[in-house]
Amino acid sequence: MDELDPVIHAQARLRIMAALSTLELDGSISFPRLQELLDMTAGNLSTHLRKLEDASYVDINKTHKGRTPITYLGLSKKGRRAFEDYMDTLRTVLGEQP
């Protein structure tokens, strides 16, 4: 219980998960908008998203708006649960009530 999920326990991925956790259930956000909100480079964001995708923590949905491809990202059910568990563990480690 006290072991922090290594997939989330990295600054960049924690920031991505925290940002995605503010979306409503089943909500999603486009890649450029997430990049803007996080103020991260596209390469950095992509790299960390791939790690989160490999862990099935984010759902990636590719679609088109006219002829422009758009990638939408959101927390998967597993990802939302993992993030909540991570927060609980963090609070426990810090001596707070989860």
Partner: protein, 234 residues
């Protein structure tokens, strides 16, 4: 930087710096600051909207008050005051809609929230139209112009106040609840000031409140931004 496909390009920086975890307390602070930062950025448009409506109330209701409020020293012609009132409302309405759409760019909600947003938006139109028709019916049944001068502003301000309260309930926005309750109060109190004092009351009580709300929102957002800037770059 990106071809919009979500994959890195040649300029993408190394993620290694941001890979290292901080101590648990710092990670927890980072998490909370990031959530607040996103919420603040998503709501960055709100102070601009309240500023626009503050000016609309001051200028719009102020123009209506100037028709007879400073008689006999000065009188703003009815043909000038009413278009000013309508124009300020249309400009603020359009500005609010534009900012709202802009803030929601790149976001996709779930079906339930899309339904809620659509119904809420349509309710503004239904209510505004219904109040106009209801006012027309009352006029048809003998309501005088003098009474109509009280009915229309109070009815619309009351309706706007209730819509703000509903918005607060849906989106858990306390400032919207405060603004809504205040609008309901000033709507029902305004007629006690008589004509044309009720227009001045609405201009000041509504306009200055929105300006104060705008300033409060801007200060609060700056505070959150400063807290979030404690190591959020990646």
């Amino acid at each position: 930087m990106t071809n919009n496909s979500g994959r890195p390009d040649a300029t993408g920086s190394s993620p290694t710096d941001a890979d290292a975890p901080l101590d648990p307390a710092a990670m927890y602070a980072l998490l909370q600051n990031q959530q607040r930062s996103v919420e603040t950025q998503m709501g960055a448009f709100v102070p601009y909207i309240t500023l626009a409506w503050g000016l609309t109330w001051l200028i719009g209701f102020g123009a209506l008050w100037l028709i007879d409020g400073l008689q006999p020293t000065f009188s703003l012609p009815l043909a000038v005051a009413v278009p000013i009132f309508i124009a300020t409302i249309l400009i603020s309405g359009g500005f609010s809609a534009w900012l709202g759409i802009r803030s929601g760019r790149g976001m996709r909600g779930n079906t339930a929230s899309a339904f809620t947003g659509t119904v809420y938006g349509i309710t503004w139109s239904i209510g505004a139209t219904a109040l106009a028709v209801f006012g027309g019916a009352l006029r048809y049944q003998g309501m005088t112009v003098e009474l109509a001068n009280f009915y229309y502003p109070s009815a619309y301000v009351l309706f706007a106040g209730i819509m703000y309260i509903i918005a607060a309930a849906i989106w858990h926005a306390v400032p919207s609840l405060v603004a809504g309750c205040w609008l309901v109060i000033i709507a029902v109190v305004a007629p006690f000031f008589g004509y044309p004092g009720h227009y001045l009351f609405l201009a000041l009580a509504g306009g200055l409140s929105f300006l104060a709300l705008s300033a409060f929102g801007a200060v609060q957002q700056r505070r959150v931004r400063e807290a979030a800037n404690g190591g959020n770059r990646g």
